[in-house]
């Protein structure tokens, strides 16, 4: 009896992260056992735990399955063009420096079509938190090969298996100058949340890769079973190795996934460098951006 009562109460209760979501847009479009929703939950929890000022937090997505995340978050939210979430976020951050800007998008969006922006934003150390959901495939369009598809894995455009070398995202991010680099799977809910929370409190170009199951396409094309089977696989094969050399964390087909925090360092951001440089060069002639309120004159 008591169980029934509890169930009724659970149905009536608001979901703990409902205040962070656009509940008028739920149900979402993601497939059953897709991992993106889990990553969203972790992000919302991290926002709450980090006590971030939500009125000053903007989220930007590109295109694709993960590209839909911005649309569900109750923040200033921008669903932009394919691959351009990082430069869009760069403009937003530089236009109003007091904003916390999160770019939340997928592997194809951020390191495929948006790869050039990814490496240059890392090089400049633009102050952005980048949450990169990696499902190894272009899922929204039907499972085509991605720049992250492991060697030999099948995709709908590599029906005989992938023969292109994939990106090692943590290594790419580190080599280009990212100040915080971590990788987890969406099985690691507490650790993903902690990484988000920690990264929200830091500055610079911060990249957190989260491996997620795509049961509808990646798993089906590769006969890997259900989303649950993939979660079991993460459980068995994820190897937590903080501080691992990022050169050693490449992902092979259905083999060990090295997780952990690989980079955590402080470096001046693009805006800090710029300001310091101009102060040195121009002295009192330098006029910085207004620290609050942006440039709109009433």
């Amino acid at each position: 009896m008591s169980n029934v009562k509890q169930k009724v109460r659970a149905e009536e209760a608001e979901h703990p992260i409902a205040p962070y979501l656009r509940m008028d847009r739920i149900p979402h479009i993601w497939c059953p056992t897709c991992g993106i929703g889990t990553v969203v939950k972790c992000y919302a929890t991290a926002l709450e735990e980090a006590e971030v000022d939500l009125d000053k937090t903007a989220i930007i997505s590109g295109i694709g399955c993960t590209g839909r995340v911005a649309g569900y978050m109750k923040l200033d939210a921008f669903h932009t063009t394919h691959g351009r979430a990082i430069p869009f976020g760069t403009g937003l951050k530089l236009g109003r420096p007091e904003l916390n800007v999160t770019v939340f998008s997928g592997d194809g969006d951020l390191v495929g079509i948006g790869g050039n922006h990814f490496i240059h934003a890392a090089r400049r150390n633009i102050d952005l938190l980048v949450i990169l959901v990696n499902n190894f495939i272009y899922a929204m369009t039907g499972g085509q090969n991605a720049p992250t598809t492991p060697l030999v894995a099948r995709s709908s455009t590599m029906p005989f298996g992938n023969y292109e070398a994939p990106f090692n995202i943590p290594n790419l991010a580190k080599c280009c100058g990212a100040t915080y680099v971590a990788r987890w799977t969406c099985l690691h809910i507490r650790r993903v949340t902690k990484a988000f929370r920690e990264a929200l409190g830091k500055k610079g170009f911060r990249v957190i890769e989260v491996i997620t199951p795509c049961a509808t396409l990646y798993s089906r094309l590769n006969k890997l079973g259900t989303g649950l089977d993939l979660m079991k696989f993460y459980h068995d094969e994820a190897d937590i190795c903080h501080g691992a050399d990022t050169r050693d964390v490449e992902i092979d087909f259905q083999s060990r996934i090295v997780c952990g925090k690989f980079v955590d360092e402080e470096k001046p951001t693009f805006s800090e460098r710029r300001e310091e440089h101009y102060r040195n060069k121009l002295g009192d002639d330098f006029v910085g951006m207004p620290s609050e309120g942006g440039w709109l004159h009433e």
């Binding site: 656009r22 008028d24 847009r25 939500l54 009125d55 000053k56 903007a58 930007i60 911005a70 649309g71 109750k74 923040l75 200033d76 939210a77 921008f78 669903h79 932009t80 063009t81 691959g83 351009r84 990082i86 430069p87 869009f88 976020g89 760069t90 403009g91 937003l92 530089l94 236009g95 109003r96 007091e98 904003l99 050039n116 922006h117 490496i119 240059h120 693009f270 710029r274 101009y278 121009l282 002639d285 330098f286 006029v287 910085g288 951006m289 207004p290 942006g294 440039w295 709109l296 004159h297 009433e298």
Partner: protein, 385 residues
């Protein structure tokens, strides 16, 4: 309202069109520029990058034009007046996010200092062959505004107008210079700040609970807000409803895209701008824009010396097109002559509006130089017969 004096370099200067355009942008209150170097436009951002640090502006040289345009659309949502600067090949890359700017109804200015095309074309030499691209270059239906200056002074004056129009109508405005104007050096008078009228978007005073990002009736421009003010709004490049939420239906497409088109088409009378000269009683009206307008003047003087009644219409705003005026003139004049540095773009619009009531003669030029006035004269003489 009057502009912020910090960006106004009041005085009499000897500037090329590129510098004048940069000064005009700063005088208009532009404080964010993202760009990628490309001839013959680079001097605009060179000028701005040297001056911005003294007025709180931010210039960022992006990794490409895709990123430049995306950064501009992003920064525009902070309330900042934003601009990017490019030429043909970069303009092609910007089309993706110009479309996003149109769809999200984002005020910003895109300067294209036109060179010869297609592809890499003639990097250092003039052209006007991107004028249709300014209108149709991004996929899908939308309407934008395009302006064409004929001199460095006008590059200064008109880019302020470009910002004003973008703020007023919430659209990316295309500032279509040509290499000749960009690299031509002339006297440029910059007035005191208190004489420069600017338009600034008015932020909605509705509460976050009441506010809807795309709430409008007919040709009305929806009220804008910006990121960081507590509205927690949503906007997207997908077809969207009043709330800015994606809705995949023909009805929502009609609501959304009809508005993008109508807000310019139905306000065209307020946006269209041209100069006219001796139109009354003219047998032939020459229609030109940008540098070609200046070359045309000589041909017109030559034709008048030969006793031909020639009127002149110079397009300042090219898009939206002055359809109404050309329809009025059609039938009253024998012919329209349209010289332009391309193989026939604006001439097609003139021909459409003339609707067979007057003959329409194009005077094409492939680019790399300007017309020989004799060639325009010949077309005028032919049309007068």
């Amino acid at each position: 309202m009057k502009t912020d004096p910090a960006g106004v370099l009041t005085g009499t200067h000897y500037f090329d069109g590129d510098w004048a355009c940069g000064e005009g942008a700063m005088a208009a209150g532009c404080r964010f520029v993202a760009g990628y170097p490309i001839t013959p436009s680079t001097e605009v951002v060179e000028r701005i990058s040297g001056r911005f640090p003294t007025m709180g502006g931010t210039f960022i040289q992006m990794e490409d034009e895709l990123g430049s345009m995306a950064a501009v659309v992003g920064a525009a949502w902070t309330g900042t007046k934003c601009m990017t600067v490019t030429s043909g090949p970069g303009f092609s890359l910007m089309m993706e996010n110009i479309g996003l700017g149109a769809m999200m109804e984002t005020p910003c200015v895109v300067v294209n200092v036109q060179r010869g095309g297609p592809s890499t074309g003639l990097p250092t030499m003039t052209g006007q062959a991107d004028i249709m691209q300014a209108r149709w270059g991004s996929h899908g239906d939308y309407e934008l505004i395009s302006l064409s200056p004929q001199s460095p002074q006008e590059a200064f004056d008109l880019v302020i107008e470009a910002f004003n129009l973008s703020e007023l109508y919430r659209v990316p405005v295309m500032f279509m210079m040509d290499e000749c104007v960009g690299h031509m050096t002339e006297k440029v008078i910059i007035p005191p700040a208190e004489e420069i009228e600017i338009v600034q978007r008015k932020l909605s005073d509705k509460s976050p609970e009441e506010y809807l990002p795309y709430d409008f009736e007919g040709k009305e421009i929806p009220e804008i807000i910006r990121a960081g003010d507590g509205y927690r709004f949503h906007t997207t490049g997908l077809t969207h409803d009043k709330r800015g939420y994606p809705v995949m239906s023909a009805e929502c497409q009609e609501f959304n895209v009809r508005h993008l088109v109508d807000k310019i088409r139905q306000n065209a009378d307020d946006i269209v701008r041209y100069d006219e000269e001796q139109i009354d009683g003219a047998d032939v009206v020459v229609i030109a824009y940008g540098i070609t307008a200046r070359v045309t003047r000589m041909a017109i003087d030559m034709a008048r010396e030969k006793g031909v009644k020639v009127g002149f219409m110079r397009l300042i705003v090219v898009w939206p097109f002055p359809e109404k005026r050309i329809r009025e003139l059609a039938g009253n004049v024998k012919g329209f002559v349209v010289p332009e540095i391309n193989y026939g773009q604006v001439v097609l619009e003139v021909e459409r509006c003339a609707a067979g009531k007057s003959t329409t003669v194009g005077v094409p030029h492939g680019g790399g130089g300007v017309h020989d006035p004799e060639v325009i004269l010949e077309a005028i003489m032919g049309a007068a017969q």
